[in-house]
């Protein structure tokens, strides 16, 4: 039977992969996907803790699952808005290459 630690380890690795995507890829959209991976890793660990913290009724701790619900919702909204920004940016600069966005450079 997998232990809590196993689930957390998987979650951590998923988070690291997402972080790798953010740091190492040049395409804005792929960076965004990495962000989503990180969020999902957090969801996984939350659900694992929910399953671990069983209440007196013999049920998982649904508070954590409700939090995961909220995170999914907010992530969806964030994706929508983020992609709208990327589209607007593409309309302006005709690029999704992150290195081309250097207007804030000194």
């Amino acid at each position: 039977m997998p232990t809590l630690g196993d689930y957390l380890l998987v979650s951590g690795l998923l988070f690291s992969i997402g972080l790798a995507g953010v740091l190492l890829r040049r395409n804005l959209l792929v960076i965004f996907m990495g962000l989503e991976l990180m969020l999902n890793a957090a969801n996984l660990s939350l659900v694992a803790f929910a399953r671990h913290g069983v209440t007196a009724f013999g049920l998982p701790d649904y508070n954590a699952q409700v939090l995961v619900f909220f995170i999914i919702t907010v992530a969806a909204a964030e994706v929508a808005v983020g992609l709208a920004i990327i589209v607007a940016l593409y309309r302006l600069r005709q690029t999704t290459h992150v290195e081309d966005l250097d207007r804030l450079k000194f």
Binding site: I17, F32, G34, N43, Q65, F70, A77
Partner: protein
């Protein structure tokens, strides 16, 4: 049985997540991401979180990724060209990553409850939508309403941002 399922879906998820990062064609990355989400939903199910698993498939794989693909098609993104590796940046990024991995492993190892098996549930194979719903609309009603408002705001924001000219 559960262990095997866990390992299979974990490996699948991690592999497709790695694929997201490694593919050069953004469409391929998006498809790998879908696969990763599905595997994650399976992991949720192994944790007896049925409602959340379904929501994950519906919202993430069903809506969010579709939106991603729409945008990729809209912007007509090509595969990224091979480019010269910037050794310094690569080294820096991998360094940070390595540090993270090490840190996380250490933390998890030192967690006292990390080696616990999951406690038994009062009943299994039971749809927990009712229980989740009761918790959601009972204890978390206010946050729920606020999330509704948030979604409204997001919608308005997206409409505004997609205009041709931001008047």
């Amino acid at each position: 049985m559960l262990t095997i399922l866990f390992w299979v879906f974990s490996v699948l998820m991690l592999a497709s997540a790695a694929a997201v990062v490694l593919f050069r064609n953004p469409v391929n990355s998006a498809m790998s991401l879908v696969l990763s989400f599905l595997a994650l939903a399976a992991l949720f199910v192994t944790l007896d979180a049925y409602f959340i698993g379904i929501i994950q498939v519906l919202v993430y794989a069903g809506a969010v990724m579709v939106l991603f693909l729409f945008i990729i098609m809209l912007l007509d993104l090509k595969a990224e060209a091979r480019r010269k590796l910037n050794i310094a940046a690569l080294a820096g990024g991998l360094g940070v990553l390595g540090g993270f991995v090490v840190l996380i492993v250490q933390v998890i190892k030192s967690l006292p409850t990390g080696a616990d098996q999951f406690p038994a549930l009062a009943r299994t194979g039971y749809s927990d939508a009712y229980d989740v719903g009761m918790t959601l609309f009972g204890n978390f009603n206010l946050p729920f309403q606020i999330i509704g408002v948030l979604l409204l705001v997001a919608t308005v924001g997206v409409v505004l941002l997609s205009r041709r000219s931001l008047r």
